[in-house]
């Protein structure tokens, strides 16, 4: 993406630039993974510590364990559609790729909406114990992931619509696909955490 500069100024091939893009995205995923794994570590650390018996809210209210999995489900559908779109781009099947990317984008927006709705209806406040603090942290960080990913997926759909993607120029969907897969894994980690409440 930022490597357009190399493409335009230095006349490097799309493949040369794309390999770098892939490497860069993998490294950014590494950084984001460190953040996500720290969240998981903190969740279980506080759960096991249960200092002053303060893990669960006093009235015992916790979130529905299925909530996070609904978002993960929508994310998986979006990621699969995106992958189908990428395969269609590789075959220069523009009609199919555009349909898949667009549906992927819509599903991603749906996942974002579901996540936002869940946040607005969490049955406890952020200060009611460390479980609630962790739950808010996980859902909010997931929301940020979803918004960013929706931007990327819709951007790819739009670029496909404009005819900027084909079997030669497929590096942007490829690296976006890596990111999308990571977002699915990250959301799954969050969902696994929230299964272990007590």
């Amino acid at each position: 993406m930022t490597t357009q500069t190399h493409d335009v100024l230095h006349h490097e091939s799309a493949a040369t630039v794309g390999v770098r893009d892939r490497q860069g995205v993998l490294l950014l995923v590494l950084a984001d993974a460190a953040f996500a794994l720290s969240v998981v570590f903190s969740y279980f650390y506080l759960r096991m510590g249960n200092t002053s018996n303060g893990w669960i809210p006093v009235d015992g209210g916790t979130a529905d364990k299925m909530n996070s999995w609904i978002v993960v489900g929508a994310l998986i559908v979006s990621a699969l559609l995106f992958r189908l779109g990428f395969k269609a781009t590789s075959l220069s099947n523009k009609g199919r790729s555009l349909a898949c990317y667009s549906l992927s984008g819509v599903t991603m927006l749906l996942a974002t909406g579901i996540q936002l709705d869940q946040i607005l209806h969490i049955p406890f406040g952020v200060s009611e114990g460390t479980y609630s603090s962790c739950y808010y942290l996980i859902t909010y960080t997931n929301l940020i992931h979803l918004v960013l990913t929706a931007f990327i997926v819709l951007g790819i759909a739009n670029r496909d619509r404009l005819g900027l993607l084909n079997s030669e120029k497929r590096w942007h969907p490829l690296v976006s696909n890596i990111w999308l897969n990571w977002v699915v894994i990250s959301a799954t980690l969050g969902a696994i955490c929230t299964m272990y409440v007590k």
Binding site: T2, L9, G24, L27, A31, G54, W55, S127, F151
Partner: protein, 626 residues
Amino acid sequence: MASELITEDTTRHSANKSVGIIRHLNFGTAIIVGALSAVTVNRIATKLIIEGDETWRRHDQIVMATMLAWFIGFMTGIGALVGPTRWFFGKDLNHDEAMFLAGKDMGLKRYFRYTTDHKVVGIQYLILTISLFFIGGVLAMLIRTNLGHASGGLIPPQVYNSIVGFHGLIMIIATIIMITGPFGNFILPIMIGARDMAFPRLNALSFWLVISVLPILAATIALGGIPMGWSGYNPLADQGPLGVDSYIFTIVIFAISSAVAGANITTTAMKMRARGMNWSRTPLFVFGTVASVALALPAFPVFMLSQVMSAMDRSFGANFFNPEFGGSAWLYENLFWIMGHPEVYVILIPAVVAIMEITPVFARKPLFSFNMAIVGIFGIVGLSIFVWAHHMYISGWAPLLNGPFMLTTELISIPTGLLFLVILGTIWRGSVWTRLPMLSVYAMLFNFIIGGVTGIFLSDVPEDAALHGSMFVTAHFHYTLMGAGLTGALGALAYWFPKMTGRMLDEKLGRISFWLVQVGFTVTFFGMFAVGLMGQPRRVEAYDIIFRNGNLISTIGAYTIFIGMLILLSAVITSWRNGEIAGPNPWGAQTLEWMTPTPVPLENFEVLPVVTSNPYQYGIKQESSS
């Protein structure tokens, strides 16, 4: 190909009209948009956020919202969002725009724009680093002046604590970027034979992210400071004034900047090396810089998370670190030190490899054991992930792990020792050309030995029980971060100054500065070791009369350092403006950055180089060519 490109550019460059909105965005617009956003959001937040029982949380929320608005406004105003927005709408950069962003023919203005040329970013980082060191240095002088008297009194205790924290924070940021920022950006791409960094716009982004938080960092003073110190320990930070919000915001943005820079530098080094530059022909500076940023890449997000949690605790009443409601102070300590100790090597490794780059050039003989140096660098990186809890021996967290952490910490002296051996082996029986960069080599060896050996003392659990929290620890980490790290960076500055500015650094002023700084440094921190061994705790603004002499000596030494640094600053400024013109390769070095003309052209190389040998063939080059 390059000449074709230049011809094309001269015909098109005047057609700036096609450059669009990018042309209008610069540092000025960034400040205006940032300030307007901050004021607007501050007013809206003040009206919308209802005053509840906990007034301080409302204030934290308003301050956080204001800082976020400033940040988004600033980044919009500088042009950081132009690229992603245009990518989204499928309007990719054309040639004119790419050239404009690269700062072609823009003179000094390019330093105040979202310029993508790695050399501009390198110079921007250099100026930033010098500025941060100046501010941090002035704060150090305030601390030492206050400690010149046993009763303190010059600065009120709360303000003193904030100054210590502010000094620590600024110096940590400065030392993290002091090599990878200026030299990692300016020198590394040329050193590997590349035309630019892998992600030029991300390069500009990493720099302007840091700039965007400087006003927020400065606002710390007006918002009550950071009396809990630079480590931001919780739950102390939870109880701190609004200045802590500035601290939190600064750390979060700095972590993002580090991740972006880390991904960029690593990708550049891994994917853009010149043809023929396999790993055994890659200069050590590249290995060290990549090791440093790659170590920072997973380490800083952990610290970032601790600050996100801290922000939630302060602004919304979350309980991550408040033991009364289920939180844990140990969680914060773990998250902080999982970043905190690798960070020491994030700072040190680039400094050591810069010194290793300098040594064979001035010893005029091949580097002693390239492979040993690689083992040393990656041995440090590997072990540094497993040493964090030696900072927590006394905290009571997992006492059973004290032994293993003592072992890993002491083991790290082995790969560090290998790096020493490489430098000493290179100097051994060399025809040493003792110019300014080489003086830094000697000084770093001397200081790092003291810093390293005292580190082994502190890694020992019983010893640490006695010395933890004392001035001895302060002296130890100054010996490593300043004595070794900063000295290495000053060597790098003296070495690469001719390439970056086209002029030689004034040798005479440089030498005066060098001796003042090194003598002052030794006096300052030997005094500190002494009072630390006698039992003086750190972070106190007044102390018992028995520590008076040691502190007075330290203060005299600190003033000597400050004078030496001011002389260096004047040498940098005067040399940059009127110094002796440097040729393309004044040191007779063999790495690729010295094969380009000075000043380095926009695309670095007219024709991309092909590498056929390792870069340390000093003293045997003529034989092979004949």
